[in-house]
Amino acid sequence: MHEVMIWSISWKNVWRNKIRSLVVIIAVTLGIICGVLLVAIMEGWTEQRLHDAIYNEVSHIQIHNADYLKNEEILLTVKDTSQMIRSIEQIPGLNGWVKRTRMIAMANTPWANTGIIIYGIDPEKEKKITEIYKKIVPGGGEYLNKQKSGNILIGDKTAELLKLKQYIVTQEVLDKLKAENIPDDIILILGKLKDTRFRSPKEFREALKSELNTKELNTYGNKILENALDYRIKNKVQITLSDISGNPVQGTFRVGGIYKTTNGGFDQAAVFVNSIELEDLYGGSTVLVHEIAVLLNDIENVDSVKEKLTGISTGNTISTWKELAPDAAMMNDYMIMYYFLFIGIVLFALAFGIINTMMMTILERTKELGMLMAIGMNRRRVFSMIMLETIFLTMVGAVAGMLSGWLIVEALGKSGIHFSSWGEGFEAIGFAARVYPVITPSFFLIIIVMVVFTAVVSSVWPARKALKLIPVEALRTE
């Protein structure tokens, strides 16, 4: 209670020179807002990458024949599949599992070809484990169905490589654009491209570039691209792979659907067909199981489940999501380090401003500090007063920064931030072009601890300067 007076003086001292204090407070506020935003974007990406890696790509656990991982040969299937499945079904907290055929293949269209990984799946069961069925693009057909439809589900990137992602400006497209308030002069210019088919986004962008200026392209380009996009659904794709005897075989599927995840690399490689239809292609009497994917209710149980399955399995390799998607695991594990790094850099820079302000304060108040020491304020209390003053000064800025940062993150968390210019680059490494920033309460706790630490460290030099004052000399200063 008796120290309340010191707290009170320190708080009031912060506001003695309002302009000077506000400069520091605004600097801290802006620094913290930047730190919060930067970390919220990183956290948003990390959460998205983690979610997408698990729910689109690798699940929590995958089981393969140990040799298959070294040499992806058709006959290297999961050993003792039935026994493995029985063991999986006994896992407490199991969400679901699927078995897949997985083969390296070549996909061809009359215009292009590309290497792919073809998965033979049970479409309905797969829905419980992955969210690919939710990722069908508008105008991109539909997810696979149970029936033998002869359909293949390919990624947006594969569609682009196989020149199945085309652009055409039809009268219908022009009408749609007009309805979306695209100016008449732009519609008129686009009329020149009417009914011309462009077989890649690059070709279409170049055509637009030759007709529209940079400003028009930046303003309306994305809208025109979206409306003119025409996936060639039901187009035939020829698949070439090795049958169980090692001989190349070919089969034809029709594009039933096109999906798009946030990972361009995954979209470029993974295509899905009904496992029974794939079996018809590679031959044999049974569906080959190269991969079993397991989804748990709680990600925290992954290691214990791996340990359990490893104990009962011989000849198979049990891999967790951390091993299958090491990029996502690394981001997740090192996020706390990023927090410290970003905020540490911001606060390190701000510390110099804080020290400078406090040094000026001490110089201005030499006589007053001399008086306080003369009438009996001991060194500990003088030190506390200056330290508290620094903490208050910094904390006001930090609280304002955290509050503003949180409000900005809340607003951006709803709409997301679209990095359209770098979207393709981000998606190539598994990050969405549109990020939804998120911030966790623990981050604010870290900021508070780091701000207090910075304030205490920043106060040491000015406080030492104050403690070195000799009261009788300080009292003589004007």
């Binding site: 009170s8 009996g376 009261p471």
Partner: protein
């Protein structure tokens, strides 16, 4: 009973170059409830002597005993605590804490001494009433005149009932009316609280009211007059 016992105290500045003997062999003592003025021309050593008595400066030689405690033997940190618990200070330029109100300034030392809040409040209000500023309780120094600020400074010095109060030229910055009011208040409190007041001054009005007048010249006591 001796409150302050000064024994052959010297204070020499710049001993290695040209030695300035600010205080030169002063021997004095002060009893409880004295109202004493130290006078003398500028440079006679008044302020230095007050600083030595107040433990703000250390004598080059000699001893100063306050209630039997030799100030020269105390460490710097012990001196701060000693000043807090035994000495009240009034400075020429008031030196109130600008961010605190009159009431908070008066209770500041009691707060450092960890007085209970109830007692602190009671004592503060008593003193503010005694100095005639109970209507300026919540005024900050910048909202008060020089005379009012100096009265608050006197109340602050007396608040924790120190053994004595040292006042360095307390009326130097005040107009004659404010100075007269301040002196009346100081004399009244000296009488009521039985606290020793020692002040250095040039001011003839202060000298006139003092019960004892010590004259310094070139750091030496040249007269020590006690009045009835």
């Amino acid at each position: 009973m001796k409150v302050i016992d000064i024994r052959n105290v010297h204070k020499v500045y710049d001993e290695t170059k040209i030695a300035v003997r600010a205080v030169d062999g002063v021997t004095l003592n002060f009893a409880e409830a004295e109202f004493a003025a130290i006078v003398g021309p500028s440079g006679s050593g008044k302020t230095t002597l007050l600083n030595l008595i107040g433990g703000l400066d250390i004598p080059t030689s000699g001893d100063i005993f306050i209630d039997g405690t030799n100030l020269s033997k105390l460490k710097s940190s012990e001196l701060i605590d000693f000043r807090l618990n035994n000495i009240g200070f009034v400075f020429q330029s008031y030196n109130l804490i600008p961010v605190l109100t009159a009431k908070e300034n008066v209770e500041f030392i009691m707060s450092l001494q960890k007085w209970p809040k109830v007692e602190r409040d009671k004592r503060t209000m008593e003193l503010l009433a005694a100095i005639g500023l109970n209507d300026r309780v919540n005024s900050r120094p910048s909202q008060m005149s020089g005379g009012q600020q100096q009265r608050v400074a006197v109340a602050r010095a007396l608040a924790s009932r120190p053994k004595f109060v040292l006042a360095d030229e307390p009326t130097a910055n005040l107009d004659s009316k404010s100075a007269a009011t301040l002196l009346e208040i100081m004399e009244k409190l000296n009488h009521e609280e039985k606290i020793t007041f020692i002040f250095s001054t040039h001011d003839a009005r202060v000298v006139k009211m003092a019960h004892r007048v010590i004259t310094l010249e070139d750091g030496k006591v040249v007269s020590d007059e006690v009045r009835e």
